[in-house]
């Protein structure tokens, strides 16, 4: 089955990306995670995302385009990236999600991909 792994990170984690004292460990953890996925031939796609301040949200209401600064939702944890994986079952997908570095401080959502 195909699953999306949606990575939600805390503000502290986003900050770690840029801070020279913590960046090495941060990116090292994600490199290791990516490598593990690749070695298991589990990953079919995905991308890291820039932090939420770089986000812009678009809605069309009553024929008018409304563009707003910032991400869709106002929560503490924000979408930081996603992976598209293949796994036997939800439990296998959950095992991968649990290995994602964000699981320790933020949250990782697992959702099946629509079969088109």
């Amino acid at each position: 089955m195909k699953y999306a792994i949606l990575v939600y990170e805390t503000p502290a984690e986003f900050a770690e990306r840029e801070d020279p004292a913590t960046a090495g460990a941060y990116w090292g953890a994600y490199t290791a995670y990516n490598t593990a996925l690749a070695q298991a031939s589990a990953v079919t796609g995905g991308a890291g995302l820039t932090p939420p301040h770089a986000a812009t949200t678009v809605r069309i209401r009553n024929g008018k385009r409304a563009v707003a600064d910032g991400p869709y939702s106002d929560t503490k944890e924000q979408l930081g990236g996603f992976f598209l994986i293949t796994a036997e079952s939800l439990d296998a997908a959950l095992d991968w999600a649990a290995k994602c570095p964000a699981a320790m401080r933020g949250a990782v959502e697992v959702r099946p991909v629509l079969e088109m």
């Binding site: 699953y3 796994a87 036997e88 079952s89 939800l90 439990d91 997908a93 697992v110 959702r111 099946p112």
Partner: protein, 418 residues
Amino acid sequence: MTNEAAQAAERAARESYGRLVAFLAARTRDLAAAEDALADAFASALRVWPQTGAPDNPAAWLYAVAQRRLIDQARRARTADAYATERAALSSDIEENALAIPDRRLGLMFACAHPAIDAAARTPLMLQTVLGVPADRIAAAFLVEPAAMGQRLVRAKRKIKEAGIPFEIPGPDEWDERLGAVLDAIYAAYADGWIDAADADADRVELVSEALWLSEILTALAAHHPEVLGLRALLLHLHARRAARRDANGDYVPLDAQDTSLWDVDAIRDAERLLFQAGRLGRLGRFQLEAAIQSAHASRAFGRRVDWAAIVQLYEGLVTITGGSPVVALNRVAALAHRDGPAAALPALEPLAEFLQGYQPYWALRARLLEEVGDAEGARAAYAEAIARAPNEAAKTFLRKRAARFSANVERDEPGAS
């Protein structure tokens, strides 16, 4: 329809339902389709068996018919390629398993209690898919509207299918937690978490045998796990006393006043044997402690006095294991009162007040302890709260009788009372 055919169908339904559903749904994770196909197969059985006689292996017959129904559905629903794959897989299933349906029920129970399933749906789902209990009966037992319960079940089965929840026994890392969820779900079929199981409401009696049945299946499939044995021992102890809970008038009889000759001693002995087996496996847990407490209460059946000191200690273990559950702490205070007297127990009751304001047994215990230490006003107020929150007429009657006796005493003692 001949009686013999009807009986064979009924027996096959009772004994094989869960096994058939689990095996039919295991690969596709589509419980709804499996249940529908099986319902069609049962309908066929009730039409055909009166004419041909009941088959030697009713379960295999039902399985073959249900499988063919699923193949038909696959053909209609999918493209030619998908159908061919499906058909090949299903056909080989039938050939391999012509005689004995493999038992995938343990995996099904783990799927029903999976953390990704809404907690309120786990017990209902298990009852419906493993035992074939009709949805409206489940709804009535849990005091939920049938439509709402139906929705809950539909959503849970959809989640299993869409999210790909497997019918699998979890790995060692998740085992304790996942097994705990299965045990909790079975226990919930016997008694709602917030109701003292020894005070079983009349409506709950409907699901008692179902809870016992689920626990029996689980014990047969996972007997090497001490908590599985512990749960079964607990349920057997609670069930052993069912005839003694109400007196001839239908009034409530508390545990320490029950007529032990009405207790099912065979069930108690079975429970003791299971608890002993569990103990030998050397990993204590919540259900073993609960069963041990019931075992201590059951010693009256064998002419021995209840060892309240042991019960207090067991509750202390249970408080620790449950991370400080206020309900467990309350039961410990009740035992403390038996061991050390009401005056010693009352101070232990105070810290629980803020958690148990809405919990009827808290007020019932408070009333009894205050009465026993002679606090008239306090006891009267507590009895009023306990009666107001009592779950049924029998409990109300019992409390009113106690309160009336107590009030009469107070009136006799007060100077100037008429």
